[in-house]
């Protein structure tokens, strides 16, 4: 069946990345550090100045940050590979193979992301437990959260793929990724839930796909809203559909251009 | 100080401590607690001298100690024991001073800036070596003429062919008029015409300016056409130090001929001085003993067997030569 080959690709990537466990674990020091910095900052902000986000006590803030940062750092980097393959024209080889290039990349992405997420989740839970103790979550909520996180990571893949595929037309896509990172930081609610923002900005954030990558799943962890869950998932799926179509479209256009121009 | 000796090496030894891990899980665990080290004698007492203006080939199999020796002579490594001087200086003690008198071309590492034209690299090198304008500009003109670089002096290096790039590399290494030139695999990856061009240029520089040339290569053509002297190094020892002419006479007594005839060859093949290594229909691989048989005779025989569609005549590889040297008992 078609899907099994992608599962195999993902599995191989997963195993390959576990070989770099040493580097991966070393990399979690940044995760630990950034959580430490954010927590300290929130202590100062939430203190006498009284910057309070409705419904987010100190404990909720710490868990929120742990979750948002885990996704931020747990995402596998595939942008360099895609951009290189576009630049060298190697992307065209996949046309002769029994799989779709984006499916292949998706499988690779998941293989690596799975490893990274597992490590970051483990480390994150340890840190948060040590810092503030546990939060209230039921198994059902965690299941619902897992779905949302998965969709969030798929969404990230599609955004990254779309930006990388611009390499067909633009010399250097790296600067676009700086901006994407910042958009995730601000509109994605990396540091603070969207509730913190002035009205206009909050609306912009909610309307963008970025807040479905970080804010939505992270918030789900600390303030689960069962009623809204359906709508949230639907919105994530909606964005996935839109960006998925865009990615496939960009790929087709780009590859056609390659064939015409001869790479 | 001896003015005429460019390179003098005496009892040079280099021992590396290599971490040795025993196989298996037990070995890995043990390695965490205590790493065992094994001594590897990469260079084990090498002695030789090279006079100014000589062209010397330095050959040996991979891991024989060639690059380690070159690294010690250029000052990148310091030896475990022994002495060496290059143009009168001890390389590992006076590296920066020595660098002004030597030029190096390593086949793998380019000193040309990839996105800029060669002219820019030359200018930058002039700054690096602090060469006065009155000196390097005319020198560049001379080199550009001799190496025929004019046509692409202003083309970005990334657009140049490998042959053009190598000519620029060697010219760049000669800009500061070094007295000794170290060349490591300078013709690797080049086509026959480009190889010849490089070899001719190096030889010309040697004749015109008296640059001492020390060349390491796996290509026997490099050795035969550029060098007059060859040193063979293996297992860290200098096993042979002789002229190329003697090497040719004593150890390069065969050539491999691959020929494809238009029709399959029937029956037993009996050409004097020729050993048939492989045969398959019209394809033959022959080993010709050039000491007893001339290539003309071999070709004449082959043409009698049928029309030659394709033929390749190859020199023995350096590995074969070294195998020969060992077989002869040295």
């Amino acid at each position: 069946m078609g899907a099994s080959k992608y599962i195999h690709i993902g599995r191989i990537n997963f195993l390959a990345k576990t070989a770099y466990m040493g580097d991966l674990l070393l990399g979690t020091t940044f995760y630990t550090l950034i959580l430490f910095v954010f927590v300290q900052l929130w202590r100062v902000l939430g203190g006498p100045s009284g910057l309070v986000v409705e419904g987010f006590g100190y404990r909720e803030m710490v868990w929120y940050l742990t979750a948002s940062e885990a996704i931020m750092l747990g995402r596998a980097r595939i942008q360099d590979d895609i951009s290189d393959e576009v630049k060298t024209g190697a992307i065209a080889y996949s046309l002769g193979r029994p799989y779709h290039y984006l499916g292949f990349k998706f499988a690779c992405y998941w293989g690596e992301t799975a490893v990274r997420m597992l490590v970051h989740i483990a480390v994150g839970i340890a840190i948060a437990l040590l810092a503030v103790g546990p939060i209230q979550v039921t198994a059902v909520q965690l299941g619902a959260l897992a779905v949302s996180v998965t969709l969030a990571l798929i969404l990230n893949f599609l955004i990254v793929a779309c930006i990388s595929l611009l390499a067909f037309w633009v010399e250097d896509t790296v600067p676009f990724f700086w901006i994407y990172g910042k958009l995730l930081f601000v509109l994605g609610g990396l540091f603070a839930p969207v509730e913190l923002y002035p009205e206009a900005l909050a609306r912009a954030a909610r309307a963008s796909p970025f807040n479905y990558v970080l804010y939505v799943p992270a918030r789900m962890l600390v303030r689960f809203d069962a009623a809204a869950w359906g709508n949230t998932i639907a919105a994530q799926l909606g964005w996935i559909a839109v960006l998925g179509a865009l990615a496939v479209g960009l790929y087709s256009l780009g590859v056609r251009r390659l064939n015409v121009n001869g790479g | 100080m001896d003015d005429v000796t460019a390179i003098k090496v005496r009892d040079l030894v280099k021992v590396f401590k290599v971490a040795h891990k025993r196989p298996g899980l037990a070995g890995s665990l043990r390695a965490i607690v205590r790493t065992e080290h094994v001594d590897v004698r990469a260079v084990d007492g090498v002695t030789f001298s090279v006079e100014e203006g000589e062209t010397v080939a330095f050959i040996g199999p991979n891991g024989a100690g060639k690059s380690t020796t070159i690294k010690m002579l250029t000052g990148i490594l310091y030896p475990t024991s022994g002495e060496a001087t290059v143009t009168g200086m001890t390389p590992w003690k006076q590296r920066q001073r020595l660098s002004r008198s030597i030029g190096c071309v390593f086949g793998q590492r380019s000193q040309l800036w990839y996105h800029l034209p060669p002219r820019d690299t030359f200018e930058l090198l002039a700054h690096v070596y602090e060469l006065p304008v009155s000196q390097w500009k005319p020198r560049l003109t001379t080199l550009a003429d001799r190496f025929e670089l004019r046509a692409f002096m202003d083309t970005p290096v990334r657009k140049l062919s490998l042959g053009q790039r190598m000519r620029c590399e060697i010219a760049a290494s000669l800009l500061h008029a070094p007295r000794v030139l170290f060349l490591d695999e300078p013709t690797v990856g080049l086509d026959v015409m480009a190889k010849r061009a490089i070899r001719d240029l190096v030889l010309e520089m040697n004749r015109e300016e008296g640059v001492t040339v020390l060349l390491t290569s796996h290509d026997v053509g490099d050795i035969e056409q550029v060098c007059r002297r060859v040193m063979v190094i293996n297992h860290g020892h200098l096993v042979l130090d002789t002229t190329v002419a003697a090497l040719r006479r004593d150890f390069m007594k065969s050539k491999t001929v691959r020929v494809r005839l238009d029709s399959p060859v029937e029956g037993i093949l009996n050409i004097p001085g020729v050993e048939v290594l492989k045969r398959k229909r019209g394809n033959l691989k022959l080993l010709v003993n050039t000491a007893t048989t001339s290539m003309d005779d071999v070709l004449a025989h082959l043409m009698q067997l049928g029309t030659i569609e394709d033929i390749t005549i190859a020199d023995p590889s350096t590995e074969q030569i070294i195998a020969e040297i060992y077989a002869s008992g040295r």
Binding site: F30, L41, W178, Y197 | V40, Q96, Y114, L116
Partner: protein
């Protein structure tokens, strides 16, 4: 060496750095679109951070005594220091990889100080975007801060020296241990991270760390203090620390180089 000789040597080194920067710039400008996008997008990228802080400071008037103005000054200094460092000494963060892959040999064969040569052989053009942002941000500080401009320039240069030296010292780990690039990346990121958050956020042992091993204190916090109120002692402290960092970097590299020349690293490549 006589003073004339020493000045000559310094001028020669400065010229050397400048020549390489010009070449790197020329090489980057071969790709005009890429060059422009790198500079412009980095500028935008940095502006985003200020935007974020603007949102925060709409709700909060000060963070432990630091106002929005302080944060702007902090980012301006950091961006300028970082930008100069990566634009001029672009190889400082990639040193471990260069050492591990034996690329140092190339520089050892040339008649220049190998450390300086390695550092200037690459340029990260996006750093110019950071410098542009630094200038814009300093302009945002208002006209009354204009008098601080020369001070900010000096501290930016000092900061660049500190950042570069820090990366070099972290990079020399590669002479001694494996995984050096990852470790060096982590500590480099750590330094930058701490330098993007106001000093009052960090207390106690962490504050001490930031004035020693992770010198965000000398790189940005003290310069910010100088903008509010000029203090010659603070300036002297910054400059002394910068000089000490450079000396430490040179020393660390020379020690590592000795090990490199003994061939202990060759083991990896053999």
């Amino acid at each position: 060496m006589s003073t004339a000789g020493r000045t000559g040597a310094v001028t020669s080194q400065v010229r050397f750095v400048w020549e390489h920067f010009k070449f790197n710039l020329a090489a980057a400008m071969e790709y005009k679109a890429g060059f422009v996008s790198q500079v412009v997008f980095m500028l935008l990228n940095d502006m985003f951070l200020l935007f974020f802080w603007w949102i925060v400071f709409r709700r909060v008037s000060s963070i432990g005594g630091w106002t929005f103005q302080h944060v702007i000054a902090m980012h301006a200094t950091l961006a300028t220091s970082f930008g100069i460092s990566v634009a001029v000494f672009g190889n400082s963060q990639g040193l471990p990889r260069i050492i591990a892959e034996g690329q140092l040999d190339y520089y050892l064969l040339l008649p220049r100080d190998p450390l300086l040569h390695v550092l200037v052989s690459r340029s990260d053009i996006s750093g110019l975007g950071d410098v542009a942002f630094g200038i814009v941000a300093m302009a945002l500080l208002g006209r009354e801060r204009l008098s601080s401009l020369p001070v900010l320039c000096i501290t930016a240069l000092a900061g660049a020296a500190i950042f570069t030296s820090f990366n070099v010292i972290a990079g020399t780990l590669a002479f001694f241990v494996g995984h050096a690039q990852t470790i060096s990346d982590q500590v480099g990121n750590a330094l930058i991270t701490f330098s993007t958050y106001p000093e009052p956020v960090f207390k106690g042992a962490v504050r001490v760390l930031l004035y020693t091993l992770l010198p965000a204190g000398f790189m940005v916090y003290l310069p910010v203090r100088l903008v509010s109120a000029f203090d010659p002692f603070v300036l002297a402290a910054i400059l002394s620390f910068a000089a000490a960092s450079i000396a430490a970097a040179g020393w660390a590299f020379r020690r590592g180089l000795k090990r490199y020349e003994s061939g202990s690293l060759v083991v990896v490549r053999m």
